[in-house]
């Protein structure tokens, strides 16, 4: 069984929500990313979303744009990120979703990318610019290798669309909490509860709420929550500063 499914099963049995933090791989360098992953796991992260930096992240706000640029300037590559996942996997069963825009995956080769994920021990793939309409070739490959290709639902998705997306979704539903790009905001969408209820009428999969959290603004009703820019901002300083944040993170109980 895929580690993501297994994690949600045990969380459900324990009546707990999932905490799914995001890190931009290689920001400011991969050694720091590796330390942050271990610290997040120790601090209670249930699933990790590991961002593969891209030159043109159209779904991301300034925080993750800047993190991606720092990582690319630092020389991070796909192969180095795969090697990082392999190192983490040697000592940990933390489920790992890779977040990548579609072009790096397409350029690597869909089949090669999926095989590499299996080889290094990644569990799922989040592709923010891959719509339901274009997902079929990649989806076929992830399903055949028991990997999760995560589907998005947005506040602007019509009910008909939500139904179609939910009907083919795998692992969990990534519910985009606000219309916009990633980045910390003070407000939380008031309709979140209603949206979660609607999605739950289409699928039994866990619904994870992402985009635009500040760390303390976790809504009580969200069954799982992701946090990207907040954790990226915390790891964005030089590595010494990042180490300080690791301590901060490890001291903070999330669940």
């Amino acid at each position: 069984m895929n580690r993501i499914d297994r994690k949600f099963q045990s969380l459900k049995a324990a009546g707990k929500a999932a905490f799914m933090p995001y890190l931009s791989a290689g920001d400011p360098d991969l050694e720091t990313t590796e330390k942050l992953i271990r610290a997040l796991e120790a601090a209670g992260a249930d699933i990790l979303e590991l961002g593969i930096p891209f030159s043109d992240p159209v779904a991301d706000g300034p925080t993750i744009q800047a993190a991606s640029q720092r990582a690319l300037a630092g020389g991070v590559t796909l192969e180095k990120i795969f090697a990082l996942v392999r190192r983490v996997r040697e000592k940990s069963q933390l489920p790992i979703n890779l977040m990548s825009y579609y072009n790096p995956i397409y350029h690597y080769g869909l089949e090669q990318f999926v095989e590499k994920m299996v080889e290094v021990g990644a569990d799922g793939l989040i592709v923010p610019d891959l719509s339901l309409e274009e997902a079929h070739p990649l989806k076929e490959l992830t399903v055949s290798r028991d990997l999760k290709l995560i589907s998005f639902i947005a506040p602007t998705s019509s009910s008909a669309r939500q139904k179609r997306i939910a009907g083919q979704a795998d692992g969990f539903i990534y519910l985009v909490s606000l219309t916009g790009v990633t980045g910390a905001r003070q407000q939380v969408n008031d309709n979140l509860g209603r949206m979660i209820t609607e999605i739950r009428s289409y699928t039994g999969l866990p619904v994870c709420v992402g985009l635009a959290w500040r760390l303390r603004s976790r809504p009580a009703r969200a069954p799982a929550w992701l946090t990207g820019s907040s954790s990226a901002a915390r790891s964005s300083k030089k590595s010494t500063a990042a180490k300080g944040k690791v301590i901060w993170l490890t001291r903070r109980p999330f669940l």
Binding site: P57, Q69, N103, Y106, H107, F152, A154, T156, I165, V181
Partner: protein, 398 residues
Amino acid sequence: MLPDSTGHYGEFGGKYIPEVLMGAIEELEACYEEVRHDGDFHRELSCYLLDYVGRKSPLYFARRLSQDLGRGKIYLKREDLNHTGSHKINNTLGQVLMAKRMAKKRIIAETGAGQHGVATATAAALFGLECEIFMGEEDIKRQALNVFRMKILGSKVTPVKSGSKTLKDAMNEALRNWATTVENTFYVIGSVAGPHPYPLMVRDFQSVIGREAREQILEKEGRLPDTLIACVGGGSNAMGLFHPFYEDKEVRFIGVEAAGDGISSGRHSASLSAGEKGVLHGSLSYILQNDDGQILEAHSLAAGLDYPGVGPEHCFYKDSGRAVYENVTDNEALVGFQKLSELEGIIPALESAHALGYLYKNRERFREDEIIIVNLSGRGDKDAVTAARILRGEEVSL
């Protein structure tokens, strides 16, 4: 007939965009399906094209240029004479009329050379809509005249500071803004790029160029042309000229990309000539990218060609052999710029000058009696400062 029902041209095109924008894309598709076959919409658009833009644009026989070249009869499709100075207005009027029909209050657009930005700001002013134009900081510097024009027209010009600070980054920022404001905002894309249905819509709105040219050449020469030549950045002026001749298999299409400092220098914008398949800004096409699938910065003296991708239908034309795509360097384009200015009294945009530069670079490839239509997609006022600096060593400030 391409694209197919899912917005693909063979394997190219499609809708590679975040889910948050899919609702707007579905709405846009539905609206376009409606207006495509709506006589009232087309009558209204035609009225504006006639009385406001000044269409049809002349098809001008460039006698002295043809003589100087020593080969071919060169006709220029004078899109530079349109209101706002380029072909871009054909498309922005069509899209802003759609925005009006969809009751959107706000218009956004990306721009490179500023021609599309000016044409969008113009259409927004004409219909009383709020307008914000995203433009790379680098382009704001080299196209100052167009920045002033957009501001005078009442638009907000937002500088984009990320990446190469040119067209690609302006489009990233426009997409991000659209994701945040999608409920009341219409995004006017300026080229035959972006997610479906944009490449189709822009092609259809720009096809007025080729439809007119076809009629005009039949009237003047009594036969179809042998060759069509147009510059290709994203590819809207080229597609507008080519598409109505698609079924005329004897008519040869040549798209001219910007080779910048030369293809081998790595500093160029020739996605079709030197790119690989990939996904950028919503569609699968040929793009400039490195071994890790990261998008490369494009380079061209012509800001409007300075883009690392190209419209999906051009990719289909390339792979199916319907069109050939060649490239000329900045310096070769400047030859075209000077020749047309001095021989015909027409200052072309640096973008269009690439098509003319191609003629001079390859004159031996043309027969003496060959009928050639070159799309003169824009006028060169905006490039006067750049040209004065490079060709005459003079620093001019606006």
